[in-house]
Amino acid sequence: MRLSSWLLIAVLSATARGGAATRPRYGGTLRVEMRAAPAALDPAAADAGPLRSLVYETLVRLDDAGVPQPCLALSWQHDAAVRRWQFNLRPAVKLHDGAPLTAAAVAPSLQAALPAATVAATGDTTLTIRANHPLPGLLLDLAHNGWLDTGPFRSTAFEPARRAAFAANEDYWGGRPFLDAIEVQLGRGLRDQLADLELGKADVVEIAPADLRRASGGGREIWSSADINLIALAFAPAPGSGDASRLREALALSIDRAAMHTVLLQRQGEVSAALLPQWISGYAFAFPTTPDLPRARALLSAVPPAARTLTLAYDPSLRAARSLAERIAVNARDAGLAVQVSVQNPRADVRLMEIRLASLDPAQALGEVAAALDLQAPEASAAPAALYESERQLLDGFRVIPLFQLPVLYGAASRVRVYAPPPVTRLGDWRFDNLWLSGTAP
């Protein structure tokens, strides 16, 4: 009698679609596409990007608040002068070639990353880093340098600028990833990526802000980093005349960021006239973003009419780059400045650039952004007031005109599940070892 009841259940429910299980499944290959087209899987390369986070790890990692946390080093201490540090390595970690992670194995790569210090193995799992000067920012340095191939995935194939493949690291100290493998197509345009997501040919793709609504249909999820991509206009670092200075300021004052943000960027990220995003600095709002056409016209009136022209180049692979460049030209024309837009013109007066933030530490991040824009290295200070002053000086003269701070957006197919969020960190690194695929055989 009881069994007949169960059979009734079975008949009633057998035709229904299977419900989702809460427990993750092991197995399957995640198909990912991205715009970047790195020539090598070099963890130190600027375009290594999120691929690096699949394979490589550092002694410490930063949590979402920017606080150093144990990674390959379980603990550390330093002397009172902060000149000598000792790190205790996590036991039972293996490099991808199967060799154990020892202090002797770690020391050479750390030494290369820290040329101003001396790195020495002082035991199987302990190493010291010392210098003649204090190293108060060593943990931050170690969060971004000294990469070791101990990560959750092993690289199995790499075709420069075309394709990368990864397999689960069965011996990963944090537990074998749920996925068996990850296939990444490199150098894929955003439109092609979106089409592949919609056609079921890709599981995770990058999304342009304008495509957000379209990408989120069909049970798909959108993942987002924090606002980490600075979109800015950068003038060539050449000695400028007074007219050049007026042109730059007039251009800066003519730009209607809010309109572009609403229409072209679908309100993703934030308008900004600062190099660092508000969530990193806390003071970005203090750099005014509102246009001032009367002042722009007044500045241009002091420039000979024939000189009121600029050429603006953009990289077509950047998100919404062409639309933004053309809109900037329209704004400039309203102020009386003729801006000619072209694609990847190396002799252009000004370029539309995208600079990706790589550090959660405000001072370090500002230094990195300044370096990427060929600006003078700012004073290293963690105090917001000093940092604000450094940033103000960097922007003085309008060599760089910040426009927006944008997140990196990903669209994920409905079969992609997240075991432990986030799948993408604030800085846009992938945490794909915690993804799993529904409908995959275990």
Binding site: R2, L3, S5, W6, L7, L8, I9, A10, V11, L12, S13, A14, A16, R17, G18, G19, A20, A21, T22, R23, P24, R25, Y26, D64, A65, G66, A92, E170, D171, Y172, W173, G174, G175, R176, P177, F178, Q278, W279, I280, S281, G282, Y283, F285, A286, L360, P362, A383, P384, A385, Y388, R392, R417, V418, Y419, A420, P421, D433, N434, S438, P442
Partner: protein, 352 residues
């Protein structure tokens, strides 16, 4: 906060030559309205606000990852000056986990333990509570604590699972590829070894757990009936003259005692367990929710179609473990706000 506000207010007063100002305050930070009011009060006490104003001061309370910031933008005779003060953020006080409503139905839950590390299972051993996690078995008896480590000879699989069984003073802890046996008296003692031995599914039923995964491989041995190979499953429960397996396809599969497939049940989660009670045996099951959503455990009477036996027991986060413990069940939930793990004993409450 007060010191930074006073320092900045005095700097602003000097910057405006102690002339009257208009003051506007906005809060872009997580500080409360009361804090905002206090900062405004400090500024109003340091600055002259009587008309006519000679300057305009816009004060913004802001924050970054490490600090709170006070940013004063001073507009005076066409000039603009920005002044900042900051102070470190203090760690946010963790909120108490929301307390579940007292159940009025078949299941009652009793919170028995909380900790930061994932709890794999708990068990009552006389007047002691045993708690299993990835690193140890902890025995709690009143204020007394004893723990026995579980050595990890290799990385544990993700979504680690484990099970505790106790009998008199003996205890067994099952983890993927490892079995620990020991006793709770006179002292907690535990000996662990790598082992592919099967786990106890239910009285008279054992099953192999995959050593590098989060599931049972499908090979099981049930009395009577003998060894059997089924598709891999996450959990199982005897249901009278049938067995139910929460399989990896997201469905619960029903088998007869003769191991004939009797169909499937949808809309159950991947954790199910049997629970015995004076008012009849039941199957308890989680919901098919994600691991980032609150879950619930629902009791079903398997003698009738699977209509809920009563209101579901709601939890503040996902259920990460659910095991049968004879007359009760043990459940572990991860609080979505605090991230802490809480273990509960679920007892059937008859007659409500």
């Amino acid at each position: 906060m007060g010191g930074a506000a006073r320092d900045l207010a005095r700097t602003v007063a000097i910057a405006v030559a102690h002339d009257p100002v208009t003051l506007t305050v906005r809060n872009l930070s997580a500080l409360s309205a009361a804090d905002t009011a206090e900062i405004r009060r400090v500024f109003e006490s340091e600055l002259k606000t009587a008309p006519p104003p000679a300057a305009e001061v816009q004060l913004t309370i802001s924050e970054n990852l490490a600090q709170f910031l006070l940013v004063a933008e001073i507009h005076r005779q066409g000039d603009r000056q920005v002044l900042l003060e900051s102070w470190p953020r203090t760690p946010a006080l963790s909120a108490d986990a929301p307390k579940g409503q007292p159940p009025r139905v078949a299941l009652e839950k009793k919170l028995v333990w909380e900790q930061d590390l994932p709890i794999l299972d708990v068990a009552q051993a006389g007047d002691a509570l045993l708690v299993l996690d990835a690193t140890r078995v902890l025995m709690v008896r009143g204020a007394e604590r004893q723990s026995a480590p579980i050595p990890a000879t290799r990385p544990w699989p993700r979504d680690l699972r484990g099970r505790l069984t106790v009998g008199d003073t003996a205890l067994t802890a099952y983890l993927p590829g490892v079995i620990c046996r020991g006793s709770t008296a006179p002292q907690l003692a535990l000996v662990c070894r790598d082992s592919q031995d099967p786990w106890l599914l239910a009285p008279g039923a054992i099953a192999l757990f995959a050593p590098d995964r989060n599931l049972f491989s499908g090979h099981l041995d049930v009395e009577p009936g003998g060894a059997r190979d089924l598709p891999p499953f996450y959990s199982a429960a005897p249901a009278g003259d049938a067995w139910v397996f929460a399989a990896v396809d997201g469905r619960a599969h029903v088998y007869t005692r003769a191991w004939e497939s009797a169909g499937v049940i949808d809309q159950w989660g991947s954790d199910i367990a049997a629970i015995q009670s004076p008012c009849g045996a039941r199957v308890v099951a989680t919901r098919p929710t994600g691991l980032t959503e609150p879950d619930a455990i629902q009791a079903y009477d398997f003698a009738v179609p699977p209509t809920p036996a009563g209101p579901a027991l709601e939890f503040s986060g996902p259920i990460t473990a659910l095991w049968s413990a004879g007359n009760s069940a043990t459940a572990v939930s991860r609080d979505l706000q605090t991230g802490r793990y809480a273990a509960f004993i679920l007892a059937p409450h008859c007659g409500s």
